[in-house]
Symmetry: D3
Subunit: 279 residues, 6 copies
């Protein structure tokens, strides 16, 4: 899997036992995304998903911004938006739809990753910053984070995930509409108050430290329990309570057959460090 | 469309470019609603929905209350509740169901309106006030607003939208149950804390001013982007994330074929006022 | 119904008109649950559901904790987890699935109970405490309440309701993931801030008093209105807005044929105590 | 309601007690549809829906064809397809979407009509013939009927209902794909074999006679029972079995309070003609 | 479990290895159902569901009819329909709804039974005959079977399952509407042609023989495979293809851990009788 | 794309304009599938999906069988089923689930392929033959085809698509249950009668000829119309009618902006061969 972790514009490291750290690394452009970057992102998280030496993942941005969003200059010269190849509205639509679906698929790799992903947002966190962080499991903000659902400012409705995930992530629909329709910039405290993030930390450094501690804590638990919890919560978010309960019962019919339960209980009683086998 | 805007119990004005203002105008009865009013409401917002000179809408109430809710005296003398025409429980049920569906349809015109609707709530905001404001996109409260899901107090479960929309608008189910089961009155700060509104403003005048600024800001953006954002957020609220993503891809396959994107980007770079063609 | 109310490990009393109080009563074990207890819980709430002398229910725990969760010692000696009867993974899975479905069904009796259930959480409120309280309608916390989605600590994903109900009860998905993946303990104020409970009260005694007042208030309303409100809110939580509206119209087509509406209006006008017939 | 029944291109008559007959009447153009026609269709069936003197409806076409489908010549000169008003792909898309939704809404009036609609198909039954008949409840074909999902032949996917309703009306998905992808013409016997129609009758005259007998039979039953059966079947078609059962229980909680049940049973026992009051 | 199999109006026998036979036994009333019967039916199939000595079930009626449906005389004297206890439409509705849900739950025990149920329909098979047989897995008709969705004839929409299950069992929606709206009687051949049954057999005796052979064949397969197949088909009927696939993957993640696969393959190769352990 | 078409165990050819032919080519093993084959299948159809020179696809098997299904010998030596790497039931379950999801994804490439796929089934068509053909759009059977949902015979519930797709493809649920629970072999005529295939043709050669004619006919239509029809039918199969209509409106808002409509109409009037640009 080493190859998958050594890709342009990303640093992948392993700062603690069973914890991986993925850093977006294009600080000179405020981590603005070009097409190669979302493909690389997808490759990295797809590999992490089944890497038995990883149980929790930290996701951050290098430099002074998490990401300023899409690299608009690069995007505008992309063949996708080359309108000279056809003048037929339907054929253009097919091209655009294929492109959007592919882009969405790459970003959804964060959500489909079997392991929990903890995202630290700091500095400029616009557009794609929200699409990506909403595909993560936990969002932690540094106090200096500035957010914007930026897309309406460039003439389009956000289409890589923000609009589909926000109503299931944040419990203030009036606020969601307000920021998505106006592209208004908002800060970390406001994000905390409405429920977009679960913690605000003094600065980026401290936020990364806290996120790493949280990742380490999660990584110390039974991976069977942790991966199941992520899967069931994502499933339940999208389904009725009755469907969620039924799915959980089928899921745990297999998963309760793990030795981790005995190991977790025994190590608890014996006050010793727990040790779970690979997954 | 002028006819649709000149209807009893409502004032329709155009206070800023591309912004309409709809005011409930029955202040002598605290804007209590009689049947003709919800039909008029529906006509107005249906017309605004496709009026190319409107891109955002302000919705307020004249006088000292947004609305005290249904005009119970008028309702009780309505033929719908005339139980002398039939004694057959099923036939009564058909009559009531047709009536409720028609009433719901009128109130849902606020949600189906293609343009964003920003609602300012002040003073007494009971019963229908919640049904209507929950059909709007953004809710702003004046400090003096007093809310109540009033219906249980008159012996019925709210049936024009509050109970169907609250669980998808506010992220505290315990609180939703508490206020809906008890008809307890609550204020603007509490509404803000649980996520029912996205802003609390000093008084009605200031709230209308802020709402108008927000409407103007939204109206200055590409209407293709803004209308798409409203549509996709409403769709995604009701669907799984995967369904939301797929719908967004089809939607934007057409919508990215707009000149607004180029216009938005260019005007941004050239620091000039952006100008979008009619929609 | 008296028999259903006289079951081991529970006290059932009737502290106010139309109000029942169910107390978990195994304080010497911090109200930890053994299998007989969830069966008894189910029997009690199934009986309360159609008991015409009950219109609202208070649910609390005796002693210094609401409940410490599953009685792990009892559970581990349960035949369900006896792995010596078969070594076949599929047959074990059938046994576990039947067991989980039965357990879920018992806890869901709180949600299926036609009458509103108000839960007071205090002291240690771990694991099953969340499963149960999330099946209730209103959650009130005493200041000393300490919560934990404890299950990952014993090697499993919570399967009796917490993971299926949390995403529909609380509007901060990042926080939900954080506490469910880490089993981190959190307090009453944090629970209030994210929307898990709707009130925090000084101590258990005061919390029970407030909960009883709320229950009494709800019990004073039309039971047709109250039971309909619970049913429609639970339905709407799981469905699209359009489905919710349609269901409400059918529901109220029958329910508006009640004399409670006239009674509620008249007693309001005549400033006299309202009196609704049995349901 | 007389006005609603006296609209261009349609004949509305009342050939039997509680039975209405709607005939498409543009035989000189093989009943090809222009825009005014689908608006008139909608007005007629919306009026019939709540007309208490109607309990079942016959729907046929005058002349030698049920309908040849859309009047393509008229459609191509419609302002909807006037591409000179804007060159912006997104704005064109908004115009087209509004137009399609309006057209769909008109055709869906057949399905939303509370009373059962029995359609007789004969001769050329192309394109819109399928859209409309699939919105009806019962389809009866004359032997000479020739069907085609014609739309791909003119460069588009059928968008007024055929593609959305066929998979829920016919139980041979391979056949549905075959005819919808190829626009292949098929006859009445094939339609019967795959389940698109429920009867094939010798010729149009005999088919109308049988359809009228069926409509009269249905009209002789309790309207509470008949309208409920249509509503629940349409609901259940779109939902899970569990959802269907729950909806049925709520529906019949009101509808079993009808005197029709006693009347139906008594008249059965007394061998006399049953008489149900208006609905 | 013996007690559950020895209940009034039913004969339970075990005609072949791993096969149970449940016979409705009230032939003097054409197996018409009174309330005690559907409760007994539910108890029997709930017990069979987890009885390890049963792998397939035959369900038939004694005498010359499968069942004439509800015992209308008994039903009309039931307390449920006693309208003298209350005159309040809403309270009547609550009583009726509770009654319908309970009745549905009893009939759904056939569907929820983990083991496949094969139903033989002969002679008069009206009303409840369809409700029950549509809850079974396989329907086999004797040539003399006469069916009717009888409910509209007694003034009500069928509410115990027929209307909710038919659209998911039969692929001719026009036919479903025709027979459900008219209560028209139809025979075995017609039932076969539209897909309501999967076989028509010469007479009842031969049909029971064929059904028993089919039950024996199914009972000879791996119970892990058979029970999984029933569960997944019922799940998939109600869900999208994508949801079905995902559920299947989770289900089989546990179920492929069975020794039955090896046993099935080996016994196939060795041409010996396969032997699966209990489930 | 040539590389994607030159893969082991498959022949890809282009027998007519815009028509591709994919042939399974392992006749010496009756086209039994090993793991490499489903990966190759997926690669081929993923490439065909966006190949502008292809508008319809023929899918057949070389030799005397379409396919005998999974190569059980190869599968049993696959690392997936190597139970020696772990004894932990949960970890085995994770491995199996990943494997099933991957296998499903490969087979679903047939359904996700934007172009229609016409499958010809002949000779032995067991297990995987049904999984694959149910992912195709049109199924044509040669008279000698023998089908079986074979999986229960080897101790498992079919998990690559048959059980999830059958209830949405065939309108006789009793028959589906019968063949899936018993693994009974059935022939082409029975498949036609219940709606599993849309044509039965004399022998394989004639069936391939007819399928090629059908593919050519479809390939001669507007690709915008054809691809839209496939997409909307698949969407509508899984959704309510209302959702299908709404999706269709959004889809066609882009797709009606095609020149194909004008081209299709003109060429029709001018009786000349139609020519659509690439897609």
């Amino acid at each position: 899997m080493a190859d998958a972790y050594n890709l342009e514009f990303f640093n992948v490291s392993f700062p603690a036992e069973y914890v991986a750290h993925v850093e977006i690394n294009r600080p000179e452009k405020m981590n603005a995304f070009k097409e190669v970057m979302w493909h690389n992102l997808s490759k990295i998280f797809t590999a992490l998903s089944t890497d038995p030496s990883v149980r929790a993942i930290l996701f951050t941005g290098a430099g002074r911004a998490f990401t300023a969003g899409l690299d608009v200059t690069a995007a505008s010269s992309s063949p996708t938006f080359d309108t000279t190849t056809t003048t037929d509205g339907a054929r253009k639509a097919f091209g655009l739809r294929r492109h959007i679906l592919e882009f969405q698929e790459c970003i959804s790799a964060l959500e489909k990753c079997e392991k929990p992903v903890i995202c630290v947002l700091h500095g400029v966190s616009y557009g794609l910053a929200l699409d990506m962080s909403l595909s993560c499991d936990v969002r932690i903000a540094a106090k200096d984070a500035r957010f914007s659902v930026k897309e309406v400012d460039i003439g389009l409705a956000a289409d890589i995930g923000t609009l589909s995930r926000l109503p299931h992530a944040v419990g203030n629909m009036s606020w969601i509409k307000e920021v998505a329709l106006s592209a208004r910039v908002f800060g970390a405290e406001e994000a905390m108050q409405v429920g977009l993030v679960s913690r605000v930390v003094e600065d980026k450094e401290a936020a990364v430290k806290e996120a790493l501690e949280l990742a380490s804590l999660i990584a110390s638990k039974s991976p069977v329990a942790v991966l199941g919890t992520k899967e069931i919560l994502n499933y339940s978010r999208d389904k009725t309570v009755a469907e969620g309960l039924n799915y959980t019962a089928v899921w745990n019919a297999a998963m309760l057959q793990t030795d981790d339960i005995k190991e977790a209980m025994l190590s608890g009683m014996q006050k010793r460090k727990v040790k779970f086998s690979k997954l």
